[in-house]
């Protein structure tokens, strides 16, 4: 789950990381008032959960409070990469001497947190890694020990930071480590961390991603979720505990298990079709869940056929079959449906669906081919 810039920076601030003075506004008037209160040049920054805000015109420098109102008005009426701008952050503008990158994320291969820093801040770190990898310093952190002072000093030295700034840098690096740890972040990033003309460090931008698996113990963060980034069908699916991702194709898929759901999408593509979604109904899917899943699939007008691929293991095929039957009776779909039931109680499941006017298939290949030809006919 991603947090907005203003949310991330507020959290940073609580951990002793200096951030610019500023507040969030939802209207031009509010932005104007904040600019007046700050009494300086301000930066108006759109709060949307995508990158490239600056290029899209979503970040503007305002020299007066009137300008702040004007720019806020423009930005608040924008859509950036399809997402509406609902809030802007109005921050005091800072005199910038240099821009640094500082972030912590999980290094999957090393199985440890990694702190990454670069003297080439202000651009995407992936871009720096491609063009000037020598400007990147990485330090692995022992998850049981945490970030040690010497490691933070090594990073400061590694990016050739002015020694006058080391003490501040240490405080910020350790603060960021604590943020990452306390918030169950999978990414905590300051980009840029600027050195001002007065040699003060300031976190100008902030970004955090929280581990979805940890939301059970991060209640206050969970409440910050911005659902604009998800398709409405994905939000609905989450309510039912379904793992659903909308895609652009025309064959709806209902599968038990994430790996098998991906495989079902792949095999549809292999035989010339195109999947409309990823959907894992999970183990022991009840008829409630199956009904919800079918409704969600069919809200997509592109869907010309639905493929059910159920491998009964612990999940029993007869149980899922009853769910499918109830779902069909409730939703009354008018697209052809191909069903493949294999494994535990598959015979019983097939019998239950015998009168449901569905196309049946034995193998994965056969199921995919039938779904593709049905979708093409529709």
């Amino acid at each position: 789950m991603k947090l907005h810039e203003y949310q991330s920076k507020q959290i940073f601030s609580r951990y002793g990381i200096p951030i610019p003075k500023g507040r969030v506004a939802a209207t031009a008037d509010e932005a104007k008032q904040i600019a007046k209160d700050l009494g300086s040049w301000v930066v108006i920054k759109s709060q949307v959960l995508v990158g490239g805000r600056g290029k899209a015109g979503g970040i503007r420098l305002a020299k007066t409070s009137e300008e702040a109102a004007e720019f806020a008005d423009q930005i608040l009426s924008m859509e950036i990469k399809g997402l509406p701008v609902r809030k802007v952050l109005v921050d005091e503008a800072a005199p910038i001497e240099a821009e640094i990158y500082l972030g912590i994320t999980n290094d999957r291969n090393a199985r440890r947190p990694v702190m990454i820093s670069s003297s080439a801040g202000g651009v995407e770190i992936e871009e720096v890694a491609r063009t000037t990898p020598e400007k990147i310093v990485k330090i692995l952190i022992d998850p049981l020990l945490g970030l040690r002072d010497y490691q933070a000093r090594d990073i400061a030295a590694g990016i050739d930071l002015n020694r006058e700034c080391w003490r501040q840098f240490l405080q910020i690096a350790k603060g960021l480590w604590q943020v990452y740890k306390d918030c169950d972040a999978t990414l905590a990033e300051i980009n840029p961390l600027v050195v001002t003309t007065g040699l003060k460090l300031l976190a100008l931008d902030g970004k955090m991603v929280i581990d979805d698996n940890a939301l059970f113990r991060q209640q206050s963060l969970a409440e910050m979720r911005d659902s604009d980034i998800e398709a409405p069908s994905e939000i609905e699916a989450r309510r039912y505990g379904l793992s659903f991702i909308k895609l652009d194709g025309n064959i709806g898929c209902m599968v038990n298990g994430a790996g098998l759901a991906m495989t079902t999408m792949d095999i549809i593509k292999l035989f010339g079709g195109s999947p409309a979604n990823f959907l894992d109904i999970g183990g022991g899917a009840s008829s409630d869940k199956v009904s919800a899943a079918l409704r969600i699939i069919l809200t997509d007008r592109n869907v010309k056929a639905v493929l059910y691929n159920i491998f009964g293991g612990i999940t029993r095929c007869d149980e899922v079959a009853r769910g499918i039957l109830a779902a069909i009776q409730e939703v009354k779909p008018n697209v052809p449906m191909v069903v493949r039931l294999v494994g535990t109680n598959a015979e019983e499941g097939r019998r239950i669906l015998a009168d449901a006017n569905m196309i049946t298939a034995e193998t994965l290949v056969e199921a995919a081919q039938k779904a593709v030809s049905e979708a093409q006919r529709g």
Binding site: N106, R108, N109, R111, R112, P113, E126, D142, P143, L144, K181, D184, T186, D211, D212, N213, A214, F216, R217, S243, I245, L247, V255, N256, G257, A258, G259, L260, A261, M262, T263, M265, D266, I267, I268, K269, L270, P275, F278, D280, F311, G312, G313, I314, V342, G343, T344, T363, L364, V365, A368
Partner: protein, 290 residues
């Protein structure tokens, strides 16, 4: 022969009195797994499943009383790391964690801690292990696989069942099937299992089921090329997965352009691995490979 578990394996179930734990313990018993103990703190002294399995208050007490050498964990995500530490501190050599949804920072700590012990962890977020005809530890259905000489290792659950089933209907048997789990940080990876299969007398070929996310398949490809004499057939799920989206498994995500199925397939093919286009093609490739 097999790897990790066989008919002599003495299994302990952590979280045995929960719904999942109790149901799957019944399934394992039915398969013939030697279940010697269960652990649920506060329920020590009780017996479950018609008096077949004694319940203990702690893993240490259970191990002392029964000599259990494998633990399988069915406790909820928020308690699972503690269950893993408890099993490791009781010197259990093989810990199998079925639980899905453990926070990744907890798993990083678990990994570092386990590296300093003699315990191996399989999972979390995995279906466990199956040595057909001898023992199953976890939730893999027992009736979809025959004993044989193909080693199977996979990051997935039902996709693994699909592959086992595809092998079975072509009459191909399995030495051991290991589900290593769909999380980004796990206890045992592809290379660990490939090493075990390479050294196993019974295993003649290996099937490796990967998916998008991370670089474990790429590293496995390098290992196969440099260290393995036995043929490996692979399948990689997620060729149609969009970047930046987590496909059900916490670890199945294409990040910053890395972890794509195309990269993994290319690396495996370059290492001489036959890559199936879909699971039902695996038996054919195994036969031509042999």
């Amino acid at each position: 022969m097999s790897i990790l578990i066989d008919k002599n394996t003495r299994v302990l179930v952590q979280g045995i009195t929960g719904n999942e734990g109790l149901f799957h313990t019944g399934q394992m018993l039915q398969y013939g797994t030697n279940i010697v103990a269960g652990v649920t703190p506060g329920k020590g002294g009780e017996w479950v499943l018609d008096g077949k399995v004694p319940v203990f208050d702690s893993v240490r007490i259970a191990v002392d009383a029964t000599g259990a050498d494998v633990s399988v964990i069915f406790v909820p995500a928020r308690f699972a790391p503690d269950a893993i530490y408890e099993a490791a501190d009781a010197d259990i050599p093989l810990i199998v964690c079925i639980t899905e949804g453990i926070p990744v920072q907890d798993m990083m700590q678990v990994r570092v801690y386990l590296d300093g012990t003699g315990s191996r962890l399989i999972g979390p977020n995995c279906p466990g292990l199956l040595t057909p005809g001898e023992s199953k530890v976890g939730i893999i259905p027992g009736n979809i696989s025959l004993p044989g000489s193909v080693g199977v290792v996979s990051r997935s659950g039902t996709l693994t069942y699909e592959v086992l089933y595809a092998l079975m209907i072509k009459g191909i048997g399995v030495s051991t099937c290991v589900g290593i789990g769909g999380d980004p940080i796990n206890g045992t990876n592809f290379i660990d299992c490939l090493t075990l299969f390479e050294d196993d007398g019974l295993t003649e070929t290996v099937v490796m089921i990967g998916e998008i996310g991370g670089a474990d398949e790429e590293k496995a490809a390098e290992f196969i090329q440099n260290k393995m004499t036995k043929p490996v057939v692979s399948f990689i799920a997620g060729q149609t997965a969009p970047p930046g989206k987590r496909m059900g498994h916490a670890g199945a995500i294409i990040e910053g352009g890395t972890g794509t199925a195309a990269d993994k397939i290319a690396a495996l093919k370059a290492a001489g691995v036959e890559v199936a286009r879909h699971p039902e093609e695996i038996p054919t490739l195994l036969k031509t490979g042999i």
